[in-house]
Symmetry: C2
């Protein structure tokens, strides 16, 4: 890789001007077939590869889509089914495009400044994962929005702001989950939610209450718990929930990791899923089918959400989008053995 082949080399070999080389390679303007062949042949002979940076510089675009991954203390965000699936989806779509995927790990405890990424021209657009309802997060997004920068938020809905978002029907999903339990004959259903920083959580909570009420069941204040979407929080809550088990039929957890934490925690205390209580998780992550009994869960099309997010960002960069994007994908209930408790 001593001296890279550049456009001028190709031009010289082909016996044409640099402009012609550029035109041939970019397919612009009318070109005589013969010239075209000469150029292509020369480019091939020299194994010419346009300098991406120079192209970007000349075009005034980076050709990169930034994907912002949040960071939480002690957790490797990517090692979470949720994020990795979305990221895979994004990668799949971008792989089919000419854009590159710039992975940006949001440093913890630092004020978020996505605008800088645009100002420095590092990215042309960005996809934001794991945004919270915090003021600081919202401000960062508002800042982007005010500058009319192309970005899209995945799996987080902001009611008060017209951001472009891709989300899933978490209200419906949770409603389905709880209704499913009710239809199975369970009536005493606890709810273990994740952090309220995410709109997902609020939606799930609302649906939980509504589904119960619809069935004529009054939600019980002390049957509602709050974890942080981690397995350990599920284990912790298991201890609080255990004394209530005699009265409880079922538990609805806001994600699979917490559900598994509950399973494990309660199991240690002598309560078995599918026997002493039913359990339903959320996300339908890979682990749902690995535990015993397998976990009934609400399947969220995370991969597709990533794909669509990438798709939409590309469209935005092509100015093919005029209206606000607010896509919500449907979710489905994946039945497994964790809800098989016999009603007594």
């Amino acid at each position: 890789m001593n001296t890279l082949v550049k456009r001028s080399d190709v031009a010289k070999l082909a016996g044409v001007s640099e402009a012609t080389v550029s035109r041939v390679l970019n397919n612009v303007g009318p070109i005589r077939e013969e010239t075209k062949n000469k150029v292509l042949q020369a480019a091939k002979a020299l194994n010419y590869q346009p300098n991406s940076i120079a192209q970007c510089f000349a075009r005034g675009k980076s050709g990169n889509i930034g994907v912002i991954v949040p960071s939480f203390p002690k957790v490797h965000m990517l090692s979470t089914y949720y994020f990795s699936e979305i990221l895979s989806g994004i990668g799949r779509r971008l792989g089919e495009s000419n854009y590159s995927l710039l992975l940006v790990f949001q440093p913890p405890d630092q004020p978020k400044n996505y605008v800088q990424l645009f100002q420095s021209q590092k990215i042309d657009g960005c996809i934001i994962l794991g945004a919270k309802n915090h003021e600081s997060d919202k401000e960062a997004l508002i800042h982007l929005h005010h500058l009319d920068l192309p970005f899209i938020v995945v799996n987080q809905t902001y009611l008060d702001y017209p951001f472009h978002t891709i989300d899933a029907e978490h209200y419906e999903g949770s409603y389905k989950a709880v209704s499913y339990l009710i239809n199975k004959g369970f009536r005493n259903i606890a709810f273990v939610n994740g952090s309220n920083d995410f709109s997902n959580s609020s939606e799930r909570f609302a649906a939980y209450k509504d589904a119960l009420k619809k069935a004529g069941i009054e939600p019980m204040e002390n049957w509602i718990f709050q974890g942080n979407y981690s397995r350990s929080s599920g284990i912790k809550i298991a201890k609080e929930i255990a004394p209530l088990i005699p009265q409880l039929d079922a538990i609805f957890a806001a994600n699979d990791r917490m559900a598994i934490g509950l399973m494990q925690g309660l199991s240690e205390l002598g309560y078995k899923v599918g026997k002493d209580f039913a359990l339903i998780g959320y996300d339908d992550s890979d682990i749902a089918s690995m535990v015993n009994p397998p976990l009934t869960s609400v399947k969220v099309p995370l991969f597709d959400m990533g794909k669509i997010a990438a798709e939409k960002i590309i469209q935005m960069l092509n100015h093919e989008i005029t209206e606000q994007i607010h896509i919500r994908l449907p979710v489905t209930l994946k039945e497994r053995a964790s809800c098989c408790k016999q009603i007594t």
Copy 2:
């Protein structure tokens, strides 16, 4: 984001030349304190952000480190503890540097050409994950190596080639695992390996045989199975292995996913881990502690491997590395309940 602030704007406001602005911001050459302050103030006032692309262009470097993620049909590679942990480690280290992380998903079935990424100046160096022993993979790496391009291979060792590699002590890890089983009194130990495309697999296999022989046990040809590191392959192999269970004490699986597949498959056939046979996995992924019984596993410092890979690539780009890198990190055995079978 109408018109971006550029160096000339800062120079004008500060009343100095552009070169001086550049010098102040890059900390080169002697600068009068007063001038420095003027420039910094002007830059701040205008909220100046250097154009990253222009910088890269001028410097002749992209400032990107490419991370190559392989793709296999039907699997989202990232959603695998293995890859996501390594990637997180890489991200952590790069986040502390000035390099950006360009995530490159290797399209399936396409001839690999990493050189192109360098020729187009998209990346300055790269970290390759999931490389195989296939000719095509090796050729791609040899090509890189011949051109003296900075790259490092993670978790794959090539004996015949002087590539830079970061790996873990998989021979020792497997030896430990098998010896552990033997020390616990198990003597009839089956081995379920993953694809032979990976050096990891060969190492594990060799250690399995050696550990047995060391204990005076002759490895049995028909107690050796081959999966592909997926859970479904574990489930499939469970059917083959079931008839042997009466004679078998224990199974050593080359990764956790297959181990869990075995657990599930054998469980369906009536054989319980920790009762009818002992089971030990590999990777110590998050799922190991989620299953029941929890899976004893060999813990591989994937996150650290990623961190070190990034560290080394940065050093290579700084020309701080002269000798071949061939790091192998130690692994440890993580004991859990899956090896508690009572010897009869």
